[in-house]
Amino acid sequence: MAKKTTKKTAARTPGKKFSKKAPSSRNVKTGDAAKATPRVRSKSAADRDVRTSEAIGTLAESVVKSALSGREPKVEVPTRSANNTKWNKSRGILQMGSAVQERQLFNMGQARKFMQTLLHGQGIRRLIEQDKTLSLRGMFYSGLHTIQGTKEKTFDDQTESDAILEDLEVTLGSLREELHIFAKKRGTMVGNITVIDSGDEIDCRRMGTGGYAIPSICEPDVIQFEKVEADFVLHVEKDTVWQRFNEDKFWKTHNCILTEGSGQPPRGVRRLLHRLNKEHGLPIICLLDCDPWGHYIYSVIKQGSISLAFESERLAIPDAKFLGIRSKDYEACELSDDVQIELNDRDIARAKQIMAYPWFDGHRGWKNEIEKMLRNGFKMEVESLITKDISYVTETYVPERLAAEDWLV
């Protein structure tokens, strides 16, 4: 079981980000360190609730304090942007930088967000007090009302609400589940593993055609693994491909776990893969489309995403492997012209953008891969292999590549 080795991160982990001037009674450092580990083992859920609740209290206190003393209330929100994402080369993960953005009440562009931040802060406090959880959509509704005396709503749509909740995560230094919020579940799993989900034993070998729906929260206090008999995890991009593999019982023939993330995998899926990799040493092998989006899905699984850089340590899998589809496969598998999907301007721009990310830049293999795709001038989906034979992908393509260990790392 690969346990996390270091807790001292060079880059800033999410912490208390609001007004630096406000006296900090809360020991932020301890919180940070605790968070970097699968904290549930060390801290009870009740402890976390108290901590989160206090963090919200401190946030509101600082606003009150500034307001009453005639200073401008502000909240410092760590910046979740590419600029503030640091590539930790030695650890192979993306981390959040130390930049913070001041969110001010008396700023035309920020006043509304400021209000929403406090509104959701209040909502989360209520959730914690009542010990209930809500979905992101539920939170949107919980904070939604019309501002008195106007026709303006507190939130126009869920996107607005979701962004504020992510801001709160980094501002409070609490993870989503610590805020008692979960996302819509997405992603499926089958294979040689048994999981205990909130005490229910689920044998993933007996999931029929549907598979086990991976929950949005995959923390150890919710999900525990039992009888991990698989040798590796094959993660595919989408449900259609996953169905192909499940129908062909690929996981049985190759003794693996089969997961899919419906495109960009949600946090739950990533956390699950991370834990399988760290706790059980299972290699994660990805089968994704040969296009910039497939490449970026791999990148997110491997080193974390920009918007969730603060969670990379518990989500990223630096040794994840990219099996295909590779740009060379058009020739290597002797595919017909019909499978070519021409790269459009957006694809090309995105590919170049990805190539310029520091975690791709300087990686010879990946540079060649993307350059070859650009030279080809087309992209390919995993499904393109179906043109060879319905089960070509499960019976020939993947087994051959696995045997040859022909993947990109």
């Binding site: 919200i56 009150v64 209330p73 406090l118």
Partner: protein, 662 residues
């Protein structure tokens, strides 16, 4: 060749047989367009204009506050929209009247008058106008001009009917009786002129209505009554005239500037200032404005014997020391001059040398007491009466000189309010208080408008055009001699000096407008900002209360105070340069400027415009009517506050008696 020689049969002798003097009247009878009688519609306007100008001039010279009535009667309606009908124009004033023996000369002779030979600011200049109108009437209808004048209130009025012999430029009196049929005037004296002519009455742009309205703007001391024609026969009985009315309505130009009191078919444009413009002085020519030929003529006709006396009495601004400078400069080795040089000893070349020296020597500008500008306050009063804007600014330039003639430019602008925002600005041009309605693009005043960079003041302006926006621009030129481009006095000639002054005056108004607009924008922006902050403060206070238990009301109050402090520009008062000079509702910056009036019309529902229009009181005092401020959302205290402040300013201007007369 042979043919050509044959054709050239004329000899000097035979040609001489046909060469004869052309009378001015004959010339103008053939060239009526030169005098503004090009078409029936314009003929009507020109006739009214000449008569009103004369009446105002006469009243002012006699020190009488003018009371003028203009009546149009439609004797025969036009048969179609483009044809002319027959009208009678009757203009009655309360002026001093005209002594019997001068009536023929004044009304029956072209180029006869008191105004041509002197340098004094007056409306009429050449002595053509009214006689030309009479001549036009005679030519088109055969009816003589009817003049009723009463120079002595104790004696009956003269009733004179006057025709004109165009070939001789001589008046012919057809009827000359004494009559008691003369309307009561305030002075007991007065003159009434009635001219029957082929014309067409149509409202709208460049109409008699517009002319009278603009005259009222430029002459706030005059009371003008206009009786527009009643249609012959009621519309129900006369489908033709009904049709005609419909056509005419459709052809109507932009809506009239103002809404005046209409009583019993009479449009009343009351006096707003009970004070005559200061009497203007007649001045002697300034040396710079005299041409050599004139100078020689003056040398011949003067009664003076020596140079000092000649210069001193025939010119202005030439003092004995200056005479010495002129004579010194003109002196050469061969001949020397001094103030004592006898005029009769001067040769032609001597005179020319003196003339050149006179042009070279540095002189003071001509005196300016010969000018009577309308005045900033009066311009504002006039504009506010006629134009429903929200911001008014006016400026008067110091007197300047072109070709030795002193002149003075005034400009005023009205902005916003009910003015249409998507059209080019309207330019009202005035020369010696007379509105100019035709040939706008040929006029120096209009050119100065197009040449002013209005973009600097926050307005859009197409290249080479007038600015676009809810703007009315008024430009007045006061001068002892207004250089018109033609005898019909429609456009001011384009002298660089004049245009420069006009531009400077416009720029001054524009700067004030720019400040106002920028401030308005900033205030709006800050008010909007405050509005946004306020909206969220309530939510924030509630959320903070729920989390920390802090008193929500206290939190709300302190955040509100902060919001107000941070958006204080919404209450700000700016100075001329747009700097903030205070936050109180004090009269400051723009508002201190007597050339600026700001009214708050922003909240006036346009439907109530007519009802809220300034209704002049009977005593002639006009006040900007303060319109009720209606705020849609009673929550918005701030916006209300801004408005209240602006209103207060408008109120301050309103309370200023001198602006509107006693």
């Amino acid at each position: 060749m042979a043919k050509t020689t044959e054709r050239r049969k004329q000899t000097a002798e035979t040609m001489a047989g046909r060469q004869r003097e052309i009378s001015v009247s004959e010339f103008f009878a053939k060239n009526r367009h030169l005098l503004g009688f090009d078409n029936p519609r314009k003929a009507l306007l020109t006739t009214v204009k000449e008569a009103v100008d004369n009446a105002l001039d006469a009243c002012e010279e006699a020190g009488i506050l003018p009371d003028i009535t203009v009546e149009l009667e439609e004797l025969a309606p036009p048969l179609s929209a483009s044809k002319s009908g027959r009208y009678r124009v009757t203009i009655t004033d309360n002026g001093p009247g005209i002594v019997r023996r001068q009536v023929e000369n004044i009304f029956g002779k072209l180029l006869y008058g008191s105004k041509f030979h002197r340098l004094k600011m007056s409306r009429g200049q050449q002595g053509i106008g009214i006689s030309a109108a009479g001549m036009y009437g005679l030519m088109t209808t055969g009816k003589p001009m009817v003049i009723t004048t009463r120079p002595n209130k104790k004696k009956p009025a003269h009733h004179i009917e006057l025709a004109m012999d165009t070939s001789k430029n001589q008046p012919e009196v057809t009827v000359d009786i004494e009559t008691d049929d003369f309307p009561e005037t305030t002075t007991g004296t007065g003159t009434r002129v009635a001219i029957e002519l082929e014309a067409r009455y149509q409202r709208g742009k460049a109409s008699v209505d517009t002319y009278l309205e603009q005259t009222a703007i430029a002459n706030p001391h005059a009371s003008i009554t206009f009786i527009p024609p009643r249609r012959a026969g009621s519309p129900a009985e006369d489908p033709a005239s009904e049709m005609l009315a419909a056509i005419e309505d459709a052809a109507e130009g932009p809506p009239d500037l103002s809404e005046h009191t209409i009583v019993d078919g009479r449009i009343l444009m009351p006096r707003t200032i009970d004070e005559l413009p200061p009497e203007t002085q007649e001045i002697k020519p300034h040396p710079y404005g005299v041409e050599l030929g004139n100078f020689l003529r003056m040398l011949k006709s003067t009664d003076e014997k020596q140079l000092t006396g000649f210069f001193k009495n025939e010119f202005c601004r030439v003092t004995p020391p200056i005479v010495k400078r002129i004579t010194d400069a003109a002196s050469t080795k061969g001949s020397t001059f001094s103030g004592q040089t006898w005029l009769k000893s001067l040769s032609a070349s001597d005179s020319e040398r003196l003339y050149r020296a006179m042009q070279e020597v540095k002189l003071l500008n001509p005196p300016t007491d010969c000018l009577s500008p309308i005045g900033v306050r009066q311009m504002l009063a006039g504009l506010m009466k006629g134009v429903r804007g929200e911001f008014y600014a006016a400026s008067t330039r110091p007197a300047a000189v072109y070709r030795g003639n002193p002149f003075q430019i005034e400009a005023a602008i009205a902005f916003g309010g009910d003015l249409p925002g998507d059209q080019p600005a309207r330019v009202l041009r005035f020369a010696n208080r007379v509105p100019l309605l035709y040939q706008q693009s040929a006029c120096s005043a209009f050119k100065s408008v197009t040449e002013t960079a209005w973009k600097n003041y926050g307005l859009s302006q197409p290249r080479g055009g007038a600015p676009v926006g809810p703007l009315v621009i008024a430009i007045h030129m006061a001068s002892v001699w207004v250089p018109f481009t033609s005898e019909s006095k429609e456009a001011i000639a384009d002298y660089d000096e004049i245009r420069k002054e006009m531009k400077l005056a416009l720029q001054e108004c524009g700067r004030k407008l720019g400040i106002y607009l920028r401030r308005r924008q900033r205030m709006r922006r800050d008010a909007e900002k405050r509005d946004v902050f306020e909206r969220y403060i309530g939510e924030i206070a509630k959320a903070c209360h729920a989390i920390t238990g802090t008193d929500a009301a206290e939190l709300y109050e302190s955040l509100m105070r902060q919001a107000q402090r941070r958006t204080e520009i919404a209450d700000a008062v700016l100075d001329e340069d747009g700097k903030i000079v205070g936050y109180q509702n004090e009269r400051n910056g723009l508002e201190k400027d007597e050339g600026v009036v700001i009214l708050d019309r922003s909240a006036t529902p346009s439907a109530s415009t007519a009802a809220a229009a300034p209704q002049p009181a009977a005593d002639g005092a006009d006040e900007p009517v303060e319109t009720p401020v209606v705020t849609e959302r009673p929550k918005k205290k701030i916006l209300k506050k801004v408005k209240k402040k602006v209103r207060k300013k408008a109120g301050a201007a309103k309370g200023d008696d001198s602006l509107f007369g006693a």
